[in-house]
Amino acid sequence: MKLSAHYNKASIIITISVLFIGAIIYFFTINYIAKNQLDLNLIEEIDGIKNYIKVNNKLPQQVDFDEDLVTFVKTDKQQLKQHFFDTVYNNPKEKKKEAGRAISCMVLDNGNNYLTTLIVSREDTEYLVQIIGLITLALSVGLLLTLFITNRYILNGLWKPFYKTLAELKSFNISDDKTLSLKGTKVDEFNELNDTVQSMSLKAKNDFQTLKEFTENASHEMQTPLAVITSKLDTLIQDETLKAEQYEQINDIYASTNKLARLNQSLLLLVKIENNLIDDIELLRLDSLIEEKVKQFQELITDKQIKVETHLSTKEISASKYLLDILLNNLFSNAIRHNTPNGKLIIVLDSDKLIFKNNGLSHALNVGQMFDRFKKGNRSEGTGLGLALVKNICALNNWKICYYYEIPFHVFQLDF
């Protein structure tokens, strides 16, 4: 939900509750005041009646009282406390039932006690309360509408700089050369936000640059000694007086150096992928790339007498050619390396997935750590970074990679 909607919701709920509670208090207060007023009038009138009786020594006539209704009932009771109550009575003038307010008390006339009840109409006060209620309701609706519109338009306008900053941040790419261009606004908070974001982005860019330099330096520092070892060995083997055993030793050094060089390259590549340093994205035909790879690995495939089956449908994909190459290299390499002699390698490419199936060990592999760095099978001679690279390349492209065992095949499935 948007901020303005949240604010709207909160403010409208609060306003409605306040208005509602206010209306209840308001209603009761007005009612109370109106009743008091009626009661005062009734006391005045009853005093008038009492005076009349005192002066004239007889009960007043009914007609003297306008719309009010007064009744005298002879009673034997000696004492009755004067009290007020609500009642319904027949309005003598309008000839209909109406809500009324009554006072009851005892009057004495010629030694007789009379229970006197004086009823006045409550219609007028109720009408007043209704009018006031209506006006209040109209005001409330008006207030709510105004609030809603104000919130919606003014608030959106106020937050515009924020959304601009947000849009800028969304398009921010740390490996880009261009910096954020956040304009000043009239709101101090947003200016502060922009300044902070700006300085943070600059710092991130600087850190990123430092990291890139570190990566390059690390690469340089390790590659040069490796180059020295390789060139020394290349020079050493020119001496043909060396014995076969010595050549064997040299061969082993070659192999280790080669492995070290590949390890170094893979580590640097991992860092580069994690920092999104490789962004030569282009549209590629995955099916033809796989066909090329099959040719490229032909020697290894023939060497192990592996039977390759491909079911490739046309698939175009946006990715870095370099990374896709590494991804396929690793998948092929694993599927061949861990295959059994005379085994099968089945490659299926659909519009939404790529599957590598190969024979191998007769039990499922441990899925948990398979894609972690330097986690490799006991019998693996690889660097231990191959599947970590695969996973990172997939993550970079928002693909999903998973492994499962489907007797007798080990299956790597990549969902685009």
């Binding site: 340089h220 180059a227 290349d234 020079t235 043909e240 061969n251 190459d325």
Partner: protein
Amino acid sequence: MKLLIIEDEQALRENITTYFTEDGNICESCANLSGAIDKLSNYNYDCVLLDIGLPDGEGFEVLDFLKKTLKDEAVLIISARNSLDDKIKGLNIGADDYLTKPFHLAELKARVASVYRRKAANSNNIIVFNEITLNLLGRTVEVNNIPIILTRKEYDMLLYFIANKSKVISKNAIAEHLWGDEMDMHNNFDFIYTHIKNLRKKLLDAGGCDYIHSIYGIGYKFKA
């Protein structure tokens, strides 16, 4: 061929010098940028091997210098940086090739031979080695003027051997040259043998000499 090797790592510089000099090339070397500029302003070379990370500056400045002074030495960058940006930058400002460390000396030699051939004014795209003639444009091979048909790998191998004639080349280096260093060969180089055997047989069948000798356990040598 007259070479200038600009490389700050002494051991590497010496090895390259030795490897190239044995073949009758004239090699000079220097360890820093100022020395390189000094040598290049006084002498002409056929080919320059250039390290990018030098103690007193970036090797790119050598390329700028060559461009400014209108010299047309072939330049091969040997860099520890396997960064696409550097590669593109280097090739854009006049380098002819880019080789990432670590590399095999045989690979370096083959690359130098290739850029030198491309740059040489009298280039006719034909390499003649005794009775063997290679036509680089058509990628065809003749032995005693009889065309022989080689596969792509065999042709590349022959070219590689001729560039490194009289050198012992490790199987490792051959595999990397033919299949690229990104492909993990699992240290299994048996299948190189198949290609070598076929190439050797084709050359012999066409009446060529037996140049390719196996050096037990380590690799092969193309005996001149």
